[in-house]
């Protein structure tokens, strides 16, 4: 079985996802039409992070955003004023403008944690390629990570998919 990937084609820059068949990782690659200092800043300054990390329908209540070696981050995702998920992580190492190594987890599933390495590659013409590699404990954990959609927690409803899953579950039993 080949590597499972998801790509989007079109004129706009597109995100590439790669779920390695042999190791429990997920690699996300995306290019930006901005110098890497800015892409980096958009990751470490909470006022900027807040503007893009969560979907528009989701509020991001940042309690801590300390993107330094040995730092941490902690935020609550809210929808219509209701708290839906509590995310947090340790910042293992930061090399300004180049690299961020952090853990990622959420209170709702305390056993689930990924080790994320974000690399900011400088490209010609003031462009930047961001590469985010997440490593999790095992394939089951990765399935959970892909299934949950992470940023919106496990509550987001995808009706067609859920119906298909329900049907498949029924078929096995």
């Amino acid at each position: 079985m080949s590597t499972m990937t998801g790509t989007h084609t079109g004129n706009t820059p597109s995100t590439t996802i790669e779920a390695d068949p042999d190791v429990p990782t997920v690699r996300i690659v995306r290019e930006f039409d901005a110098p890497r200092e800015l892409v980096y800043r958009a990751h470490v300054e909470p006022e900027l992070v807040k503007q893009w990390l969560g979907p528009h329908s989701i509020g991001m209540d940042i309690a801590v955003w300390d993107m330094r070696t040995g730092g941490e981050y902690r935020y609550t995702a809210t929808r219509d004023g209701e708290e839906i998920a509590h995310f947090y992580g340790s910042v293992h190492r930061v090399t300004p403008n180049e690299r961020i190594v952090q853990t990622f987890g959420f209170e709702e599933m305390p056993e689930a944690v990924s080790l994320d390495t974000l690399v900011f590659h400088e490209l010609p013409d003031g462009r930047t390629r961001l590469e985010a590699l997440s490593v999790v404990y095992d394939f089951e954990s990765r399935a959970g990570m892909l299934a949950s959609g992470m940023e919106v927690g496990v509550n987001e409803g995808y009706d067609a998919l859920d119906a298909l899953l329900a049907r498949l579950t029924g078929a096995v039993e």
């Binding site: 989007h8 901005a34 990390l53 979907p55 399935a143 959970g144 959609g149 298909l164 096995v172």
Partner: protein, 130 residues
């Protein structure tokens, strides 16, 4: 939801093994009997049956009712399902990064909807200078 996640975990767990992935790849070409599946491997029929049981429990394959041969059939719907999970994840990441595009454009004093390359470069120069 928990049940469904368990279900997906079984699928990914079943595919974590290289022999099982290989068996699935061969079943994608067509149905096969247990002995046909066992042929290329230096393992017992019993070991192959064990692998098949894992794939069956994950809902990846089905045994036909044909009592004589009992060929193994790949349930392709499961792969559509996994592709959907990956696509959804990709879609969410792309949406997130399009929001980041807009933030970056604002940081550079650019109109987020501007697509003119030359103008963008000029804007960037000004942004860097200021």
């Amino acid at each position: 939801m928990v049940e469904q996640d368990d279900r997906l975990s079984r699928v990914f767990g079943a595919l974590a093994d290289p022999t099982r992935r290989d068996m699935v790849a061969r079943l994608a070409a067509g149905d096969a009997t247990v002995s046909e599946l066992a042929a290329p491997y230096d393992v017992s029929l019993q070991a192959v049956s064990k692998h098949l049981k894992v794939l069956e429990e994950a809902g990846l394959v089905r045994r036909s009712r044909d009592a004589q041969r009992r060929p193994v059939h790949l349930d392709a719907e499961v792969f559509d399902l996994m592709t959907k999970w990956i696509e959804r994840y990709q879609h969410q990441a792309e949406e997130r990064y399009q929001r980041l595009d807009q933030v970056l454009a604002r940081m550079q004093g650019k109109d987020p909807v501007s697509t003119d390359i030359t103008e963008s470069a000029d804007e960037r120069q000004r942004g860097a200078a200021g």
